[in-house]
Amino acid sequence: MRRLWLVAKHEYLKRVRQKSFLLLVIGIPVLIFGVGGISVMVTIGSGDGRPVGYVDRAGVLHPGLLTELAAKARSFTEFCAYGDEMDATTALEAGEIQAFYIVPEAYLTDGQLRLTYGERAPRESITQDFRVFLRGSLVARQPAEVRPVLADGFSLTVRSGDGRRELAYGQGIGFLVPFIATFFLYFAVMSAGGYLLQAVTDEKENRTMEILTTSVSPLQLMSGKALGLMGVSLTQILAWVGALVVAAVVGARFFEPLRALTVPWTMLGLAVLFFVPTFALIAGLMTTIGAAVTELQQAQQISGIINLLFVIPMFFVALIFSQPDSPFLVVLTLLPTSAFLTVLFRWSLTAIPAWQIVVSWLSLTCTALGSVWLAARVFRLGMLRYGQRLRLRTILEGLRRPRMVRKEVINENA
C-alpha cells in the first residue's frame, strides 16, 4: 500500500509542477472570466444611462411600485411617466430619455405594447425591467392572497413510481450541473487520460520500466498512477470550482439573478459518486492502450475514440430534454461509459428510479475495477516490449493464462 501511495504522490507532484498544468488550472478560469468580463463590460459600456419613459393609456401601471423594484435590484432601469405621446416624443427629441413605451388602451385585451427610441435600440434588460414593472402592476390589482401565486407561477414536484426519488422543478441551479460536469469531464478527465497515456508510454520510452517493476507490482504501479492523476484532476476541478464560487460571490453583488442561486448538494454528491469510478474506468482504458502500443501518438489516436464513448450523452441532449425517461436513455444510464453524464442530465430533468441509479453505479464501478485489472495485466505483457506493439492475440492469451495459475502449476511440477 505504501508503494501505491509513493507512486501516486510521485505522479501527482510530477504533473502539478509542470507549466502546462498551471496554465490549464489558471488559464481556463482566466479565459472564461476574461471573456465573460469583457462581455459584461461591453454590455454595460454600451448602455445608455438615461431614463426610459412610458405613456400608460390603459391605466394599468402603478408608479409607486418603481421605488420598491429599484430598492430590490440595484441596476433596475429608471422609468418616468408622461401624460401623452407628444410629451414623451418631445422628451426623447430633447435627449432627456433614451426611449419610451406606449401602453395602449386595448392592452388588457390584445397584450400589445409599443416602443419608440432615438438613435439606438435600448438594451434587452430594459424591456425585461419594464416587463417586471408591468407584471407587478397587474398583480397588484388582484386580491392580496393570490398575488404570490400569480407572481411566481407554480412549483412542480415530480415523484418516481417507486416513491424513492423526488424532483422539484425551478429550484436552484441543478440544470447547470450536467453542463458544468461535461465541461470538467472534457478538460480535466480527458487531460488526465492524456497524462496517463504519457505516463505509461514515457516509462517504456525512457526505459525506467524495468527498474520500477522490480520495486512495485504492475497493479500497484497502475493503481498508483491512476490515483495520482485523479488527484491532479480533482485539483484542477477544485481550482475551477473555487474560481466559479468566487465569481458567483463577486457577481452576486452586481447581478440580481446570482443572488437567488442555491447549490444542489444532492446532485453534487451524485456527481462525485459517479465521477470516481468514471475516472478509474478512463484511467484503466487509457493505460491499457498506453501499455499495448509503442508510441504516444498511436495511443492518442485510439484514445480519441474512447473519449467519444464517454461523451455520447452530449449527442442526445435534445432527446434528454424532451424525453428524459425514454428507454434509450435508460440504456445509456446503465452503460458504464455514458452513465456519468446521462445520470446527471436526467437527474436535473426527471425522477430517475432508484434501481437505475444503483444498477448504473454498480455496473460502472465493476467495469472500472475490471479495467484497472485489465490495464495491469496488459501492462505486464507489454511493459518490456520496447518498440513492439502488443497484438490482440497476445493480450487474449495473456488474459487466458493468469500468471498465478501458471506459477502454481510450475511449483507443483517441481
Binding site: 509513493l6 514515457d202 526505459r207 524495468e210 517493476t213 520495486s215 512495485v216 510450475i410 517441481a414
Partner: protein, 309 residues
C-alpha cells in the same frame, strides 16, 4: 552455505521461440557470479525470470530461500541493460523516489544519497534535470539507484557500458566492496577481461542453454591444454596441429586443435633448426578464448553443459 539464488531447469518460450531452456545455477553470498553468453543467448530473460518480471514456463527460481515476494524485492538491487531515468525530472528527486520505492525512509534515503552522490562526483549536479547530465553521469546515477538501499543481492547487466576508464575502475571497486561485505553479485557482461578479473564463478549460456558452469580457475585449467605461449625467433605459424597463431609484442600464442597437445608442439619445435626458443609455456586460455571456442563449438546445435565444481 545456502545459496542466495537457486535456479533449476529454467525454461521460457516466446510463442514458438525458445528463449531459455533448462538453465540451472546457484549464486552464494560473498561471490561475484558471471552470467555470460553471446547476444540473444537468454541472459536477460533469465535475469527477468529470476526477478519475477517474467513467469517461467518451466523450472523453479528460489531467491533468499523461497519464492519472490514484495518484501524480498527490497533486498535486491538491479541495474538492467535496458536502462533509463526520468529525463524531465531532477537527479535528486528521481533517485529519492526510486530509493523510497525500495522501502527506504525518505530521511535515510536523503542522507545516503548525499554520500553516494559525493562518491560519484555528482553532488554538484543533483539539482539538474537528468536530461542535462552526460551519458556517463546518467550511468553512475543508475548505479546509485541500484545500490542506495544496500541490497543483499545485486544484479548488474553490463555495468561498465558508457563509463570511462576512471569510472569503470570506480564501479569495479564498488562491486568488489559489496562482495567483501558478503553481498551476492550477479554480473552479466560481454567484457570477458572484467569477468576474468572479478568473477569467482560463471555460467555461460548459448542459444538459451547452459554450456559452461563452474569456477573460473577450474574452467581455465580445463581448457589450458589447447594452447601454448612462445617467445623466440622464427615463424611458429606453420606448425602442425595449430589452429591459430597470433603474434603480439614479440610473443606467440598458438591455439591447438583437439588432437594436438603442448607436448606434441614441443617435440615438433625441438627438431627444427630454423627457430630459436627463448620461452615455452602451456597457456591458460583467456575467458575470451574459451567463450569463442565453446560458442563456436556449440554452433547451431544444442550441446551438453560442462560443469566445473
Amino acid at each position: 552455505m545456502n545459496p542466495v539464488v537457486s535456479v533449476t531447469s529454467l525454461s521460457k518460450y516466446f510463442g514458438r521461440f525458445r528463449a531459455v531452456k533448462d538453465v540451472s545455477f546457484e549464486v552464494y553470498r560473498g561471490e561475484i557470479f558471471g552470467l555470460l553468453g553471446p547476444n540473444g543467448a537468454g541472459k536477460t530473460t533469465s535475469i527477468r525470470m529470476l526477478l519475477d518480471i517474467f513467469a517461467p514456463d518451466g523450472g523453479t527460481v528460489s531467491v533468499f530461500g523461497g519464492n519472490m515476494t514484495e518484501a524480498k524485492k527490497n533486498r535486491i538491487g538491479y541495474l538492467p541493460e535496458e536502462r533509463g531515468l526520468y529525463q524531465d525530472l531532477g537527479l535528486e528527486p528521481t533517485l529519492l523516489y526510486l530509493a523510497t520505492l525500495k522501502g527506504m525512509v525518505e530521511a535515510d534515503a536523503r542522507r545516503r544519497l548525499e554520500e553516494w552522490l559525493k562518491r560519484f562526483d555528482l553532488y554538484e549536479h543533483r539539482a539538474k534535470k537528468v536530461q542535462e547530465l552526460s551519458r556517463g553521469m546518467q550511468q553512475k546515477a543508475q548505479i546509485i539507484a541500484t545500490l542506495i538501499h544496500d541490497p543483499d543481492l545485486i544484479i548488474v547487466d553490463e555495468p561498465f557500458s558508457g563509463l570511462d576508464p576512471v569510472n569503470t575502475r570506480l564501479v569495479k571497486e564498488i562491486i568488489e566492496v559489496q562482495r567483501q561485505a558478503g553481498k551476492a553479485v550477479i554480473m552479466s557482461t560481454h567484457q570477458m577481461y572484467q569477468v576474468e578479473a572479478m568473477c569467482t564463478r560463471i555460467v555461460l549460456i548459448n542459444q538459451g542453454s547452459t554450456v559452461l558452469y563452474g569456477e573460473v580457475g577450474q574452467i581455465k585449467r580445463d581448457f589450458a591444454g589447447n594452447a601454448v605461449n612462445l617467445v623466440g625467433q622464427g615463424d611458429f605459424g606453420d606448425l602442425p596441429g595449430v589452429l591459430e597463431a597470433r603474434r603480439r609484442n614479440g610473443a606467440w600464442h598458438l591455439t591447438l586443435d583437439a588432437g594436438t597437445s603442448p607436448q606434441d608442439i614441443f617435440h615438433a619445435l625441438a627438431v627444427r633448426d630454423d627457430v630459436r626458443i627463448e620461452r615455452f609455456e602451456v597457456a591458460e586460455p583467456s575467458l575470451d578464448d574459451i567463450f569463442i571456442h565453446v560458442v563456436q563449438q556449440a554452433g547451431g546445435v544444442s550441446s551438453e553443459a560442462r560443469t566445473y565444481a
